[in-house]
Symmetry: none
């Protein structure tokens, strides 16, 4: 079964708003066993809406549109739907009742414009909107379904869950889609693809592999399709086991695991605490850790020693070391580790000092030069990394690299 998503709105097409509806809907449809073949965004233009909707109905068994149902004059979708599927606009009493209640609750008067929201094509099956004013509409044409939903994300989502999903689950009996993500760090995409070339060529036909690169590493996603009640789960598990064999500790977790959450879990299991001393990452390592709920159990905090003055004053770095070797040096980072462990009374520590850019480079130390150190009560690892020229990306890469070094140390691999 094929599906397409159509998002309607001038605000999307001029780049004013990032379209998050289509990703959400595509994920739901994929999970429900559909193959999403296209996502299209178009302006609030009746002729274009009609053309593209007809085109998508030829390609897909199910088309879901969002947007173009608001009360303002730039929304003309309902007229187009009458033209496409027949019928005239008629008043839908249950929707009018909901709209009236909504306005009463908010203490607002009900205008004609609001009442018109309850008008729907006589050819549709209405979908109630419990969180807003525009009802959804479901149309049939031959073997295809067209569903029009409002564009406000929380209204759309709730209507999809209650009014659309039960219907399409009935349509799509038999198939099942299973997704599993293997999250890796430290191997560049091209090396990873070399390492996995045999694995890829031996993948069962109904399992697809995708590389999802980002600043926190590369996630490998396996998507399996098969019949319901089959052995899809064990089929995927077998491939995941192969990846474990091939990639070892480059795998930091699965599915929703993140590097910070994995590091915090390891610390929690070992009943150890962590502190960080950040120069070029300027608080980002601490932010990544404290984004995770419950991080306060093991993360004590740390020092953002952005200036050399603070490296000396708060982390007890010897000013001679900075003069002789520079703030971006293994010697400075080594003393930052000592300093932050002492002042935070922590078991483990991370320290980072680098040149984030765009300026600040010195002879032999280009922008992106970064020393990263991690320390346990019995061990220490210092690494020199050379990242790129973009400040934001350098901050992210340095932070995730530091977390990964700590992860390996917590695993006893360093």
């Amino acid at each position: 079964m094929k599906a397409a998503v159509l998002t309607i709105g001038d605000e999307l097409i001029i780049g004013q708003v990032v379209d998050t509806n289509s990703a959400w809907l595509s994920e739901q449809l994929t999970d429900a066993g559909f193959e999403v073949i296209r996502i299209v965004s178009i302006p609030d233009n009746p002729a274009v809406i009609e053309d593209v909707a007809n085109e998508l109905l030829e390609l897909a068994d199910l088309v879901i549109s969002t947007g173009g149902l608001g009360p303002t004059s730039d929304d003309r979708t309902k007229q187009v739907l009458c033209k496409m599927f027949g019928g005239t606009l008629v008043l839908h009493e249950p929707s009018l009742e909901l709209i009236t209640k909504l306005f009463h609750k908010r203490g607002l008067p009900l205008t004609e414009t609001n009442k018109n929201q309850a008008l729907i094509p006589s050819s549709c099956t209405p979908i109630l909107n419990l969180n807003g004013t525009a009802p959804g509409m479901l149309f049939k044409r031959r073997n295809s379904l067209f569903v029009a939903l409002p564009g406000v994300p929380f209204e759309m989502k709730s209507m999809f869950d209650t009014g659309v999903l039960p219907l399409i689950n009935e349509l799509n009996v038999g198939t099942q889609v299973l997704r599993f993500t293997v999250n890796t760090f430290g191997i560049a995409e091209s090396f990873l693809s070399d390492m996995l070339s045999t694995f890829e060529s031996q993948l069962p036909q109904n399992i697809a592999l995708a590389y999802l690169p980002g600043p926190s590493g590369i996630r490998l996603r396996l998507t399996a399709r098969g019949s319901k009640g089959g052995n899809l789960g064990s089929l995927v598990q077998r491939e995941v086991d192969k990846l474990r064999q091939l990639l070892g500790t480059a795998i930091y977790g699965f599915n929703s695991d993140t590097l910070p959450s994995v590091v915090l879990d390891l610390l929690r299991k070992q009943e150890k605490t962590l502190a960080v001393a950040e120069s070029c990452t300027g608080g980002y390592v601490a932010h990544l850790l404290t984004q995770v709920p419950g991080s306060s159990q093991v993360f004590k905090g740390g020092v953002v020693a952005y200036s050399n003055e603070l490296k000396v004053k708060m982390l007890n770095v010897n000013p001679k070391i900075i003069t002789e070797h520079g703030a971006v040096s293994s010697q400075t980072v080594d003393q930052m580790l000592d300093g932050v462990i002492a002042c935070c009374n922590a078991d483990f520590a991370i320290a980072v000092s680098g040149i984030a850019g765009p300026t600040g480079d010195t002879p032999g130390k280009p922008v992106g030069t970064t020393w990263i150190g991690v320390a346990s009560p019995t061990n220490r690892n210092l690494e020199l990394h050379t990242f790129g020229n973009l400040r934001d990306i350098n901050i992210q890469r340095a932070s995730y690299t530091a977390l990964n070094m700590l992860r390996l140390m917590l695993l006893g691999r360093q």
Copy 2:
């Protein structure tokens, strides 16, 4: 001149990744005077890529695609482009040179897969990628242009700015689109729209107003259209002046100004330094500040005092104060200000302590309860804010609110 955006990738079509490239590109193209007529996302499928690219080339004068250029086997766009525009894959020496340099800088060996990234169709004009491995490609067919860019956002953006924009600006003569953004903080959207209802109704027909809300406040964007060489600039300036009158210090800046960059500029002008003491924001305030290039001139650093132990040990908060009033109290935040000013030897300071959630609430202090303090050498302001239930949003809101309080203090308005 019409334009279309084509984003390629299985990860988009199954909803794993939200497509932000198309919104960014649409905005740039609209600014450059193009009418964006369609945004389409498709899977990594050669036949579909060919079909849809050809279709869009019939509809638009300019088609920009992103994605499908990676080294892994799920990327097959370059073969399709050879088929569409003729030519064979040939080695592009300048790209190979850049790729070699990139790998050399990172200390990684260059594999065949990497080298293959420098292969491009002989029919294209290459666009250099200074931040990654996949070069961009520009093709001509009759009067239409097709531009293929990689999908990694920061690579794509930089290549569009340097390699594509100058070219399309030459294409599009006659019309001009001018955008100006007025950035506000501290007034909720519904109040703002009430305050601006008369202003909105009196806007000239060729200027549109849009509200762009986000965690860092609401940006008001004016979009004006007119002929080149007209008085569009002064027309927009008149409306901006009206907004200044209406909104006063709720306006923190214009266009690319951010709250952190404005605060850092004010500090620089007054030749003062800043330090931060963060509990619930966990390093995010420091991160926002250090994201800005050159922040080291005025931002000294600070303490992430996530645990109470560190509040006492590093910021010299009296443990009795924490026991009596709690870590989330005006008294604690007041002492955090004293402590961070002393240990960082800074002129100005920010301190934040709150309950980010999802747990940690106590009677009378629900999740979202946050005390924020800012201090100058002669003044101090402490405020209690109650944010919502979402951890991420609470961290962001608390951080931006703190920066805005400091901004008002630097302006002498508090």
